[in-house]
Amino acid sequence: MTARSHLTQELLNYFDETDTRTRECPNTLEAQLLNSAALAFEESDARISREIDGRTLARVPANLDNRGVWYGVQLPPGLAIADSGPQTVRGSNDGTNWTSLRPYDDWLPVPSGVAVDATRAVVPFSSPTLFTLAGDGTPKTATAALAIPGVLHFWLEGMAESQDHVSVVVRGHKHPRVFWAGDDVAWTETLDLAEEGYYKTATTWAEIDTVEVNELPAGATLKAALFPFAFDYENDPSRPYIHPAYRDARFRRYWTIDDLLVKEVFFVSRYGGYETFQCYAPPRPVSGLAVEPNTRGMLLWDSTTLYYADRREPMPDKLDRTVLIKEPLYGIAVSLDPFRSGEVRFVNIAPFAFDGSAQMTQYRYLVETPDGDTKILTPEGRVLELSGAVGWRRGAPKGLSFPLIATGTYLFTLECIGAQGEITRDVFPFANADVAPLATLDLTGLIPEVQGVGFDSRQRLWAWTGSFLVPLKFRYDGYVWDADSRTVYLTDAYSKVEVL
């Protein structure tokens, strides 16, 4: 599937709000066209963000470019290689067992393996949550012992009707510490929390003296953690959610595990809470996920397995079926039912009238399942075998809710018969998406059981066993090709390299 950029909706929102089909249907021809531009914008946006972050020590990317260390092999002049690079690169440490290497992609660095990072120590760690404060309007003070240096992550909820901003003043010592007596001055960072949700400090702390919280209203709670996996929601800060109804508004995008599904949600408001807008079926039930900083990747885990996946939303397949030759009497919009929970996802199928809707005499719904089987879908939700005369109803089309059993692209069609007996159709492809792991890494032998995975302030990977933090390190078995110097740079060390 092609990825759908989160910026596509931002472009679609420049259509007038009365143009409901374009604004609210994510897979129209306009959306497909603009998605190409949005993907390019997204890449430029990410590049610019990297450049901006790269100008400050607190935010400089550390996990890109194979962390800055490569293993170079310069090719001899006699070896003919195309400018685009070698066809095959393999590495070996004994000359007998060879590993095929693949081009390394900084946007989506898919790991080939994982190991305990020997350069960092395993650290006792009993809980990712540092403290939880319940508000009553009075100032609160907490302190926290950090197992490893890190930023403080906060989760604020229950603000209800409070108009106050919550002020969080963190006092402590920055990492790395200056050990000279007198030079190790205390550092203070103040956060202004205007809305519920996720926050973090810019400072990497070596030690926390106090955390002072002011204006935390009654009913609100503030939770602090060393890793975001302590919270129910994982923030995806580089990809805000854009709602079709709100031009120029960007909502915070979060990931969460709900029952057996992985969900993308956005924070609507204190009253609306978190609304699901995309849902994915993982290969096996997962217990948590972590967004990889500076890339398009994310990690999901169950007790002994780590999955690496692209976290961008997929465009549905079968988009060639959405071409409209004649304006239908009624259009169709299909969206995920945000109020259904459980393993099976439901979609809301909603008809909307076009100019010729007054001529409509009969209608019916069709559904093509991901395996290509087409059925008739009655407004009552029953599924019937396809037949020319079956399923037609008189009157204005009614909406319905429909369960999606299989993963893949469903095609929903609304057929309408006009006053002259002509049939018009509107087709809506809906991707009942799954998490397609690009890598599945077995942690058996490294960690007894994973209860959390997260990146520290230097974007290094840690896994939590429930009682220890274990430093992990990916290997990529990748390479990049520099045509100018005719050098192949490997992500991992090999004593022998075969280049063809």
């Binding site: 972050d53 990317p61 962390r67 800055g68 260390v69 170079g72 050990f179 000279w180 007596a181």
Partner: protein, 256 residues
């Protein structure tokens, strides 16, 4: 074609570009994350021309780390000074280095120094970091200086406690004052004039001594005279080696 010349090499990351601004290069094989840690230290640690700045800079450039060697505490405030080859704690002096019969420096282990402090009876010392030769103990004191701290009002709370009352000096005339029992609060007879600054010394108790993997001493250090001479008045072995190396590498010593 099979190639067997594989060379580890650093690429140019965003961290390397920031390194230019803080005057540091990433070391061969050092990851960007480790380099970022080093850069953070470079912007918070003093890197001036004084002794601590020199020690900091050497460690930063070589990618090494200072560490806390041991902690000394006592019921009462105390004065601790670590100089070249000796540690002075109150009235007691603990030698950090001894001479062997063949005029060779034998540096005590830090753990042995900790034991000797505990043996004094009035102090408690705890080893904090890895053990090593006491040569790595940096020159330091628990009596520190605060220079030109702005103050205002009649009752002044200083940035640092345990001020040494006799050490206070002001940039302009102030009224009489008393130092509170906390060693930190000054009670003036009348508010200090606008723009008043105080310079004072204070004690850090308990005190954590710093060790540096790079020892650094000056040939002009007054203490070197007594530590660098052997039994027959000759320079001890290591200093001879240091000087030979200096003379060999820096040809200006031979200039006429």
């Amino acid at each position: 074609m099979i190639l067997d010349v594989v060379t580890q090499t650093n690429s140019t990351t965003y961290a390397d570009l920031l390194g230019v601004q803080v005057g540091l290069d990433r070391l061969p094989g050092e990851t960007a994350a480790d380099f970022i840690d080093r850069m953070h230290l470079a912007v918070t640690a003093g890197r001036g021309a004084e002794y601590t700045g020199l020690i900091n800079e050497l460690n930063l450039q070589f990618g090494l780390s200072l560490n806390q060697a041991f902690e000394v505490s006592s019921v009462d405030d105390f004065e601790l000074t670590i100089g070249f080859g000796s540690l002075k704690l109150g009235n007691a002096v603990i030698e950090l280095v001894t001479l062997t019969s063949d005029d060779f420096w034998a540096w005590k282990q830090i753990s042995a120094v900790v034991d000797e402090i505990n043996a004094l009876g009035d102090y408690t010392a705890v080893l904090l970091g890895a053990d090593g030769p006491a040569l790595t103990l940096a020159r330091q004191s628990n009596t520190l200086l605060v220079s030109a701290e702005p103050i205002e009002g009649r009752v002044v709370r200083l940035q640092k406690g345990r001020m040494l009352a006799a050490s206070a000096s002001f940039n302009q005339a102030v009224s009489g004052y008393m130092l509170g029992p906390d060693g930190r609060t000054l009670h003036f007879e009348s508010p200090v004039p606008d723009g008043t600054e105080i310079t004072y010394r204070y004690r850090v108790c308990p005190f954590r001594a710093v060790a540096s993997p790079i020892a650094c001493f000056s040939l002009l250090d007054p203490a070197l005279h007594s530590k660098a001479l052997g039994s027959n008045g000759k320079l001890i072995y290591q200093v001879r080696e240091y000087l030979d190396e200096l003379l060999e590498r820096d040809r200006s010593y031979w200039a006429k």
